[in-house]
Point group: C2
Chain length 240, copies 2
DNA sequence: ACCTGAACACCGTTCAAGT
DNA sequence: ACCTGAACACCGTTCAAGT
């Protein structure tokens, strides 16, 4: 899935300025420290995003953060209650920038469609981070304004409040839930599925045999097909 | 979410007969062993399901399996290559029984709808197991015949092969991806979202303020709303 | 053929001690 | 006020040794 390609440097857009390269202080074999950039919530979130993007979310450990920032692993607890709180902050960064680079064109259905696809693209650029959004135990801070904006699009299309809410929830589920799966390392290749299905006895699974060459071809096309079904369905529910 | 309620005993339906209660051999303080039930792939999968259902997937560890079955933790490696292979076997059990207790009534759209809801109910009864299906790196064995059957429903409705395949993929994504999120421990309560959104300044997020009382009310209603949008959309694509 | 037990290389987190 | 370092209670997995 080529959408997995990581845009270099993009990981820290919208975050504070990145810490300057921290001239190698060479304070006698020790890591860095001693006058180096101070440990902050920002530098920790920055490092979390960088590690998750380049090595996957599993690589984000307290010890890894420590060596990355030249600090004792347990120093993280001075800035975040626990690991979960740090990951939540990283998830918040991901959601906060979800409108960056997207401009509405005025047609509610078209805006909805391009925005969801835009958000999906951003999420796929940070596969290691997305799962944290989906599994966070409360709304990340920046979720409120994003929710408000999407609800606004649905209302402007003529949906009543009830349908707008339900439409929002379905679109959010489709975007987040499906993209989480698409961004997981296992989704990288659909080959195992296709090969295994192609090798089945056609007599026992006739419909599958017929469909096998078409199955699991393009994750993005699949996502768009479902998205269009949903938006078309909402379109037919609009008031007069 | 009441759907989380675990049906007692249901965890092992369809699996080999359960091991008899294994009369307490009391072989001198040691766990059991010494004439007790032998360790098999079945007893390991059985224990995995039981532990995941009652204590969550995180509780499934090699050491926990060892004490559960009265055996050294590393004995598992005699029957499964690694932990991932054991979890895959448990996921396979979940998918294998997905048609149990469901009967088609002959109308393709209605059958599709009731089947998907039936599958969702089964998955929600085993929240700790479902995530393993979604994240497995290849098709679980029993997936082929299930895929064949669902494709058959779509074809019988008059969809051509291309639309049937795309429809199947969208329905699968909707079922698995959304239900994985709904079954995650964090989804247990929607309260944090509702409370946090209700407390926002209405002037800044007018649409959200208006919608807040309706948001995140019922995960199942939300799922059905999306499912109906998808099935209705497919219905309109049928041939003459 | 199957199981044991020690060992290895990891985790997140706590807490007393340093500066 | 912030960081260190040892320690605790865990992980999955390997491998030589037992039976």
């Amino acid at each position: 899935m080529r959408a997995r390609a990581t845009v270099p440097g993009a990981a820290v857009d919208g975050l504070r300025e990145r810490v300057p390269p921290s001239r190698p202080v060479t304070d006698g074999g020790r890591r860095r420290r001693a006058g180096a950039a101070p440990l902050t919530r920002e530098s920790l979130v920055d490092a979390t995003i960088r590690i998750a993007d380049t090595e996957g979310s599993a690589a984000v450990t307290m010890r890894r953060l420590g060596t990355e920032l030249g600090v004792d692993p347990t120093a993280v607890y001075r800035h975040f209650r626990d690991k979960q709180a740090l990951l939540q902050a990283a998830a918040d960064w991901l959601v906060a920038g979800v409108f960056d680079g997207w401009t509405p064109r005025g047609d509610w259905a078209d805006d909805l469609r391009t925005f969801i696809l835009h958000a999906r693209r951003r999420y796929l650029e940070h596969p290691g981070l997305l799962v944290l959004v989906a599994s966070s135990s409360g709304p990340v801070q920046s979720e409120a304004s994003a929710t408000d904006r999407v609800l606004g699009m649905l209302r402007s299309g003529g949906l009543d409040v009830e349908d707008a809410v339900r439409g929002f929830e379905v679109l959010q589920d489709w975007l987040v839930a499906v993209t989480v799966l698409d961004a997981s390392p296992q989704a990288e290749s659909q080959e195992p599925w296709r090969r295994s299905f192609a090798a089945l006895p056609a007599a026992e699974v006739p419909h599958l045999a017929e469909a096998a060459p078409l199955l699991y071809e393009d994750l993005d096309a699949r996502f768009r097909f479902g998205l269009d079904l949903i938006i078309d369905g909402l379109d037919r529910r609009r008031g007069p």
